[in-house]
């Protein structure tokens, strides 16, 4: 039976556990075994919490026996290593936090645990979520289960690879400029980034506070909906978390898409998009049209400014957010500092990798006296224009569709020398972060045996619409069910 358990989606596992076909302990053992077997190749995990997972699974089984099963009772998930987990290392993919053990749980971690989820481990990621290939991790790159020579994308690359290789049924991720959706697209998984403020950021180590949002990587839209229902909701510990009712996302999936107005952004299909990806996305749009949705062209005139805007705002915020890593209270501290300045310089110099340093320096620069107006203030104004573009577009359509990523998974090492090319990976995803909108990437085909993602963006708190659209597309296709051969 073990051979099959890992192939079941979260929803199917929930049903199987509910019917008593297998126990949470059995399921956890099976997946821990797979992690043991495969993670040497993938490097998707920073920490595997086998012992705690088995204890949690036992508690889940006991709870079920006592008739007290939560909605996620016994379901095996993994957390991106950016979420603080009490008593377990939380590294954020950095040497700076190599030995950091959080004294508290993030709200997301707390809510999923309360619902009965079993956490198998913490997944690898680009250092402090800064990267699109998982190559900036201090713990080495994650390998794409579809081709171990290739990147799974980033920054939630460990989560995406773990789910794609069936090492866990689902994973948490965070998305600042595409860090959930791009790796989901590159690994053939479903990646959901909710509306900014939908899920609490408390306990999620901050990269760019006004853009960061927690979300999920899963095997199906239904699974993503199930997890979001648990993660979403107001948290008094996060002032930017919005008090907005949490709907029944699973129930929203099945409403018809007939009459749904889908907007297509002409600029999305301009130069830079791989021809194979473009074809797959167009085909996916045709499927939705055949299901009764209508396709309309919409204009996002300032979209070409989203990458430069993002690379001012995000580094600015990160330069300040990462100041707390100073070697004084926690994290890496340089040995035998000569004085305070030496303590700061060496602790940070040794603790942070090149990409993090690059962004801290860029951010420090754009906030400096004499440059603030020209960069940061200007970027905030452009950000408002981009948000306005989306608002206008959503007066005409319900969802905006396009590619998630300009290319399928690229080779590890291909883009590491050129940060600008790397940054352009997020060209389609960044807009949703700048405007704070919900967005999802769902598998929509293959190019040269590598998965391609369809990107759907909704208006504020339009998660139901985005999920419904993705779910209907999934019902008509089999792309999301594809599994890399080595992990069947």
């Amino acid at each position: 039976m073990d051979a099959e358990l890992h192939q079941l989606t979260l929803t199917q596992l929930a049903a199987g556990l509910g019917r008593g076909e297998f126990s949470a302990v059995e399921l956890t053992r099976a997946l821990l075994g797979r992690i043991e077997r495969h993670d040497g190749d993938l490097n998707a995990f920073v920490t595997v919490t086998g012992e705690q997972a088995l204890e949690a699974a036992q508690r889940a089984d006991d709870a079920r026996a006592a008739g007290e099963a939560g909605v996620l009772n016994g379901l095996p998930i993994v957390h991106k290593d950016i979420f603080c987990t009490k008593g377990v290392a939380t590294t954020c993919g950095s040497r700076m936090l190599e030995d950091f053990v959080s004294p508290y749980d993030a709200t997301v971690v707390e809510r999923l645990a309360r619902a009965g989820a079993v956490v198998l481990g913490k997944t690898n990621m680009d250092e402090f979520a800064m990267g699109s290939s998982n190559e900036t991790s201090y713990f080495g790159p994650v390998h794409n289960p579809w081709d171990l020579e290739r990147s799974p994308g980033g920054s939630s690359g460990g989560s995406a690879a773990a789910v794609a290789a069936r090492l866990a049924a689902a994973a948490t991720g965070t998305d600042t400029g595409g860090s959930i959706r791009q790796p989901a697209a590159l690994t053939g998984t479903v990646g959901l980034k909710p509306t900014y403020g939908r899920v609490s950021r408390y306990g999620m180590i901050a990269f760019a506070s006004s853009l960061d949002q927690a979300g999920v990587i899963a095997r199906s839209t239904a699974d993503a909906a199930l997890l979001l229902g648990v993660m979403a909701g107001f948290d008094p510990r996060d002032s930017t978390c919005i008090e907005h009712p949490v709907p029944d996302y699973a129930a929203a999936l099945t409403a018809p898409v007939r009459g749904l107005r889908i907007g297509i952004v002409r600029q999305h299909f301009d130069q830079g998009l791989d021809a194979g990806c473009a074809a797959a996305v167009r085909e996916a749009l045709a499927v939705l049209e055949s299901q009764g949705a209508t396709l309309t062209e919409v204009d996002l005139p300032n979209l070409d400014l989203s990458v430069p805007t993002y690379y001012v705002v995000a580094p600015a915020e990160c330069s300040s957010n990462l100041s707390r890593f100073d070697g004084v209270r926690f994290g890496h501290r340089a040995a035998d500092p000569a004085d305070l300045m030496d303590l700061y310089c060496r602790s940070r110099g040794e603790g942070f990798g090149a990409e993090v340093k690059r962004r801290i320096m860029t951010g420090t620069y754009v906030l400096s006296a004499g440059y603030y107006d020209a960069y940061y203030l200007k970027a905030q104004k452009v950000r408002q224009l981009i948000a306005d573009d989306f608002r206008h577009a959503f007066e005409q359509v319900d969802v905006i569709a396009g590619p998630t990523s300009p290319t399928p998974a690229f080779r590890l090492g291909d883009k590491t020398d050129d940060p600008i090319t790397m940054y352009l990976n997020d060209i389609y995803t960044i807009g949703a972060n700048l405007a704070g909108l919900p967005a999802i990437s769902v598998p929509c085909g293959f190019v040269d045996d590598l998965p391609v993602g369809l990107h759907l963006v909704g208006p504020h708190f339009g998660e139901e619409t985005v999920l419904r659209c993705a779910h209907h597309y999934e019902q008509a296709t089999e792309w999301h069910a594809a599994c890399p051969e080595a992990y069947r």
Binding site: T90, S209, R237, T240, A316, S320, L322, S323, Y376
Partner: protein
């Protein structure tokens, strides 16, 4: 040139700790004096992943202050990050307000150097969190960091450069100090650092309108130090300029032991704070209804109270000023004045005199006075109805302070009732006259000053209990030839 040819231009930045129970962005307690790092939660420690949540009470307090200085209350204000590295600054930035503070354009009136009322403009008042404290004493080769104070709410009150002397600066600071305690938004405790200020000082030739280069004196925590430091700084700058040198714009520290200001190393101040709006906090939005409800809850303010005390009770202006400088003291005065039919000025004399001295001697606040307002009124009644003399009253007051009971009980127990029976006084006067024939002769020969001697003798005979006015009148009558 002399000092009289120069004019000082001074502006103050006063940091006032707000009297909230918990910190501005966390639930940790703000109480003073706890063991190091026992009142710092993960938010105060700047742990990875934690987020600030604004304490609503600080917004109420800041608005109350804004209303009290006739300022404009921003309907939308924004918290910003002030970025710099320091070991007692856990996040590497201080959350403050920069471009959009909560209070703007207020004013306060002080007595200017010319004795006239003078308006001091208040540019702004903004909310911010305090940093922790570095400890060096008793530690070798390393420093200690106490983060108990990190995240304590402060309101920084920035004046216009309207002050022209150290005296005016101290008067302004006192006035703000009185005001924040009146409003109940700060305990104003200067020893504990709840009320401190930075002074921006420059000088210019009298008649000039352009400002001179200023120096900023940091962290002055007493009225006396403010006055002394500014005076030192004014003299220093005048001397420099008269010698043909120039003032360097810099941050200076006041050394109270040497009574001088000293420049800080330039390295410590060469900071570009890279302010930007804090993305973890929403703008603070306030509606008119909230402001109006606060306006309704404003207590009577010190200036209005001072004027009313003069108008309603007819007491001297300077006494009214002292009494109105402390809300609880004013309440005490009014309660005592209302409880007696005696002249309110007599009550004011006692409150600002013996009572103030006794409180001061025992280091007590008026709230902890050992004699209640009604009891003090009881004592004053006995002076007013001539049961005791003012001199005996001092003895009774001390006994009351020592807890021996009410004025009446003490007067009875000690037999201090004043002798007002003119027959009894006459008998004693006669005896004194009879016993001092030579002095009587001298007096009658024109040595008027001897009246004091006779009064003294009569008082000695009566143990101080004879009514002095009566004694005087009877003596003069009987001694006249």
């Amino acid at each position: 040139m002399s000092a009289a040819d120069w004019e000082a231009v001074i502006g103050l930045e006063i940091h006032t700790q707000l009297a909230t129970k918990s910190k501005i962005f966390s639930g940790a307690a703000t109480a003073y004096g706890a063991e190091p790092n026992t009142q710092a939660c993960l938010v105060d420690l700047g742990y990875p992943g934690v987020l600030p949540v604004l304490n609503a009470e600080v917004v109420r307090m800041a608005c109350l202050f804004g209303l009290a200085i006739d300022a404009s209350i921003a309907r939308r204000s924004v918290f910003a990050r002030k970025n710099y590295f320091y070991p007692d600054l856990p996040k590497g930035y201080q959350i403050s307000q920069y471009e959009l503070p909560i209070v703007e354009r207020g004013e306060l009136w002080i007595e200017g150097d010319d004795g006239e009322d003078k308006r001091i403009g208040i540019t702004r008042a903004h909310l911010e969190e305090d940093a922790g404290k570095s400890l060096h004493e008793g530690l070798q080769r390393f420093s200690g960091i106490d983060l108990n104070r990190a995240g304590t709410p402060l309101i920084e009150i920035v004046s216009e450069p309207d002050l022209r002397s150290a005296r005016e600066a101290a008067a302004y600071m006192r006035k703000i100090h009185t005001l924040v305690r009146y409003l109940g938004i700060s305990d104003g405790n200067m020893q504990e650092g709840s009320f401190r200020c930075d002074a921006n000082v420059s000088v210019r030739r009298r008649g000039e309108t352009a400002l001179g280069t200023r120096a900023e004196i940091k962290n002055l925590n007493s009225f006396r130090f403010v006055e002394k430091a500014i005076n030192y700084e004014i003299e220093r700058q005048i001397e420099l300029l008269e010698d043909g040198a120039s003032v360097v714009q810099e941050t200076r520290l006041y050394d109270a032991a040497k009574d001088e200001t000293r420049g800080m190393r330039s390295k410590e101040e060469a900071n570009d704070y890279r302010y930007f709006p804090d993305p973890d906090l929403l703008p603070v939005v306030i509606d008119d209804e909230f402001v109006e409800s606060l306006r309704g809850s404003l207590p009577e303010l010190p200036d209005a109270k001072r004027r009313r005390l003069v108008d309603d009770y007819g007491i001297r202006g300077e006494d009214a000023a002292i009494i109105a400088s402390n809300r609880a003291l004013a309440d005490y005065f009014e309660a005592a004045a209302r409880a007696t039919g005696a002249a309110a000025q007599l009550v004011a004399n006692w409150v600002t005199g013996d009572l103030a001295a006794a409180l001061n001697r025992d280091g007590l606040d008026i709230e902890a006075s050992r004699i209640g307002a009604a009891d003090l009124a009881g004592l004053i009644e006995r002076i007013d109805d001539a049961t005791i003399s003012g001199k005996i009253a001092k003895e009774v007051f001390e006994a009351m302070w020592a807890g021996e009971g009410s004025a009446d009980a003490i007067i009875d127990a000690r037999g201090l009732r004043q002798i007002t029976d003119s027959g009894a006084i006459e008998a004693i006067v006669d005896a004194v006259i009879a016993a001092n024939p030579s002095q009587v002769a001298e007096y009658r020969a024109g040595k008027d000053k001897l009246i004091g001697y006779f009064v003294g003798q009569v008082m000695k005979e009566t143990g101080g209990k004879a009514n002095p006015a009566q004694v005087n009148a009877i003596l003069r009558q009987k001694l006249s030839p």
